[in-house]
Amino acid sequence: MIAAHLPVLQIVVPLIAAPICLLLRRGSLAWGLSLAVSLAVLVIAANLLTQVLESGPISYQLGGWAPPWGIEYRIDVLNSFVLLIVAAIGAVVLAYARRSVAQELPESQQSGFYTALLLCLAGLLGVTVTGDAFNLFVFLEISSLSSYVLISMGRDRRALTAAFQYLVMGTIGATFIVIGIGLLYMATGTLNMADLGARLPAAGASRTVLAAFAFLTVGATLKLALFPLHFWLPNAYAYAPSAVTAFLAATATKVSIYILLRFFYTIFGPAFAAADITLQSLLIPLATVAVLVCSTVAIFQNNVKRMLAYSSIAQIGYMMIGIGFGTATGLTAGIVHLFNHALTKGGLFLVLGCVVLRAGSCRLDDLAGLGRRMPLTMFGFVLGGLSLIGVPLTAGFVSKWYLVQAAIEQGNWLVAAAILAGSLLALIYVWRVVEAAYLRPAPENAPEAAEAPWSMLIPAWILIGASVYFGVETSLSVGVASEAARFLLGGAG
C-alpha cells in the first residue's frame, strides 16, 4: 500500500515536517525531526532507484487524476539518480548541521533554519520527481525561496545582500522558465512533459516553440549559474552558513542541470536540441570559458569558501560541456560529473564548515598551520581537493576521463585541452590551501584549534570517502549515468 505511494511521500513528508519544525521552537528538537525526515527520504529515494532499475519508469498519478490532465510524477533512471543524490546529500548535511548551526545561528533562528532547509529539500525533490512542467516551476520556487532565506542567515551582513542578489536573479530565471512553459502550452495545449514531448514534433519548429526553447534555456542556465550568468553564486556560497553552502552547492545547481536535461531531451527531444538549434556552438564555448575563467579567478581568492564557489562554476562548466556534446559519452560524462561533483564539493564545503567552527573563519591566512592542529579535517580537504583536480582513484578522475573522451570522440581537441588545463588550474588553487595548512606555521595569536567534533567530521568524511570510493568502484555511478544517457537519447524521441 505504502510502497505504491512512495513517489509522493518523498515530497509530502518533508513538506509536512517543515512547519512542525517551526512549531517545535527548540533548535535541537527541530534538528532531530529534520534528520529523521531526511533519513526517511533517503530510504525512499534508494528504494525508488532500485525499483526503477529493476522494472523501468514509475508513473504516479497525483490524486488519481490521469495524465495529461492530472499532475503526474514520473520517475525514470535519470531523475531517480538525481533524487538519490539530493536525498543523500540532504541526510548527510542534516546529520552534520547541528553543531555547525548551533555555533553560527542564534537559538531563536534555529528552528526556522531547519524549516527552511526541509522546505528547500522538498522543493528540490519535487522538481526532480514531477512530470508536469508547471508543477516543476512551483517546486522550483519553493526551493528557491527557502534557499534565499537560508543564505540570508549567514553571520556576515554581506549574506543579506548576497541573498537579495540571488533573489533577483533567481526570480528572473524562474520567470523565464514560466514564460517558456506558457509558450509551450500555447503551442501544444499540454503541460505533461511526456505529452509535450509527443506533441511538439507535430507543432514543428514554429517561432513560439523556438522562443520557448530560448526562454527555458536561459532561465535554466541562470539557475544553474552557467558562465556568464553566474554572478549571484560566489557571494551566496561564500556568506551562507556552512551547512547551507554545502547543501546548495551539492544539490541546487545539480537539480537545475537536471531541469535543463529534462527540457532538452524529454520535452524537445534529442533531435531538436542537437539539430534545430545548434546548441553545441553556444553551450560548449560558454562552458569552456567558464572552466578556464572561473578556475583562474578561483586562484586569486583569499576566502576559501569563495574560492570553492568559483570552482563550482568551473565544474558546472564541465557538466555543461558534456551535456553540450549531446553524445552518449558526453551525456554520461555530464551526469557522472553531476554525481561526483555533488559528493566532492559537498564534502569540501562540510570540511570548511569544520574549519570555520574551530578557526573562526576560512580566510587563507587563518588556515595557516591547521594541518597540524586539525589533521583529520585538513586531510579530508586534501582528498577532496585531489578529486577536484581529477587525480586517479578519485571520483573527479572518472568524470574527466569520460569528458576528455567525449571531446576526443568529437575531434574537439581544443575542448579536451581546456578540460585538462582546468585540472591544472584546480591544482593551483587547491594547493594554495594545502600549502597554507601544512607548510606555513600557525600565527602566534591563533586560537587554540582542536579537531572538529565527530558529529561533523563523520558526515564530512562520508562524502569525502564517497568521492574516493566512486573513483575506484564506478559501476554504480558510471553504470547508472550511462543508462540515463541512453535513456535520454533513445527513449524520448
Binding site: V391, E409, L424, E435, L439, V478
Partner: protein, 492 residues
Amino acid sequence: MSGDGAILLAILIPLAGAVPIALAGSRPNLREALTLVTAAALFIVVLTLVPEVAAGDRPRATLIEMLPGLPLAFEVEPLGMLFALIASGLWIVNSIYSIGYMRANKEQNQTRFYVCFALAISSTMGIALAGNMMTLFVFYEALTLSTYPLVTHKGNEDARRGGRTYLGILLSTSIGLQLLAILWTWQVAGTLDFTLGGILDGKVSGPVVGILLLLYMYGIGKAALMPLHRWLPAAMVAPTPVSALLHAVAVVKAGVFTVLKVVIYIFGVDFLHLSGHGQWLAYIAAATILIASLVAMTKDNLKARLAYSTVSQLAYIVLGAALANFWGIMGGSMHLAMHAVGKITLFFCAGAIYTAAHKTEISEMNGLGRVMPFTFGAFMIGALSIVGLPPMGGLWSKWYLAMGALESDQILLVGVLMLSSLLNVAYLMSIPVRGFFGKVTGSPGSAEGAAVVIKEAPLACLIAIGLTASGCIVLFFAPDALVSLLRPLVSP
C-alpha cells in the same frame, strides 16, 4: 606462493606496513624495526616472483574494474621484475641508511617520513607490476603525491618552493600531456593492456605517431627530459635519504621505466623503429645528456651536481628507448639497474658527508677524504660505475647503448656517449680527488678544529654505503643474469 597472490602482496605489504609504522610513532626503535621488517618481507615476496618470470611465465592479477574495460590489473614481465627488484632491494638499504641519517641529524616528523616512504614504495611496486597503462598511470600519480610530503619534509620556505616546482611539473605534465596521450591511445586502440609488440601498430600512422610519442615522452615528467627537468634539482631540498630514493630508486626510475614500457608495450619496438620517429627523441635525449652534464660541472653544491648528473643519466635510458633496437632497449633497461645502484651510493655518501662534517659545497671538501676514507672510497666506486669504467656495472649498460647507436648508424650519438663519459669523469671524479689529495683551505683555525672533530658517519649509514658500493662491483661480474632476464623484451 602463487604468482598473483605475490603481486598483490607486493603492493599491499608496504601499504599495510605504513599503518603499524604510523602507530609506533612514539617509539622510534619499534618504528624503525617495523620498517626494516616490512622492507625485508617485501623483498622476499618480490624474490618469489623471479623464478616464474625467468622461466617465461607472466603472473597476472586483476584487482577491480575501475572503468568499464579498464581494470586495475597487474602483470609481471621482465622489465617490471627488474624494477621491482631494484626498488624493493634498495628500500632495505635505504631504510638502514635513513635510521642513521635521520637520527644523527635530529630531523623532525620522522614518523611521517617513514610512513610516506612506505606509501611511495607501494606506489612504486604498483608501477613496476602494472598490467596496463591505466594502472601504471594511477600509481604514477600516487607516487608523485606520496613523495610530496617527503620533498617538503623540512617545511620551510625553501621546501615550500621546491615542493611547488616538484608537484607543479610532475602533475601538470602527467595530467596535461600523459593523460591526454593515454586517452588518445584508448580511443584509437580500444585497449591499454601492455602487449609485446605494441598496441598502436596499424592504428595510427604518419605524424600522429610523432605527436603521441611527444605527448608520452614529455607527459612522463619523471623521466626529466629537458626542458622539463627542473623539478629534480628543486626536489633537492629534501633530506638526503629522500633524495636517494627520488633520484636513484623510485621516482626517476619510475619515469624512465614508464618510458621503456611505453616504447616496448604501447608503441612496440619494431613499430617505433619503422616509423622513424625515435630519431628526434634520440637527439633530444642526446642534448639532455650533454647539457645536463655541462650544468652539473658548474654546480658547487654536491647534491645539485648529483641531481644534474641524474638528469643526464636518465637521458641515457631514454636514448636507449628511442634507438628502438635490441641493443638500445637492453642497454636502457640495464642502465636502470646500474644507475640506481651507482647513484644511490653517491647520494648516501653526500648524506654521510653532510651528517659527519656538515658540508654541502664541493669546494669545502678539500682533504675531507683523509678523515672519511671509507665514504670517499665508496664515492669513488659509485662514480666509476656512473662513468662506466670497469670493474663496475655501469660499463655494461654503456656498452650496450653504444652498440645500439652503432647499429642504427648514429655515429654522432656514439660521439655524444663518449663525450658525456669524459664529462662524467670531470665532474664526478674531481670530488674524491679533492677529498683525498686536496689541500685544506680556509682559515687555519677552523680547519684544524674540523680535522679533529670530523669522523666517519654513523655506522648505519656506513653499512648502507658499503652494501651499495659492493653492489656496483657485483653487477660488473653478473651481467649475464640481467641479460637473460631481459632478453624476452626484444628480439635481436
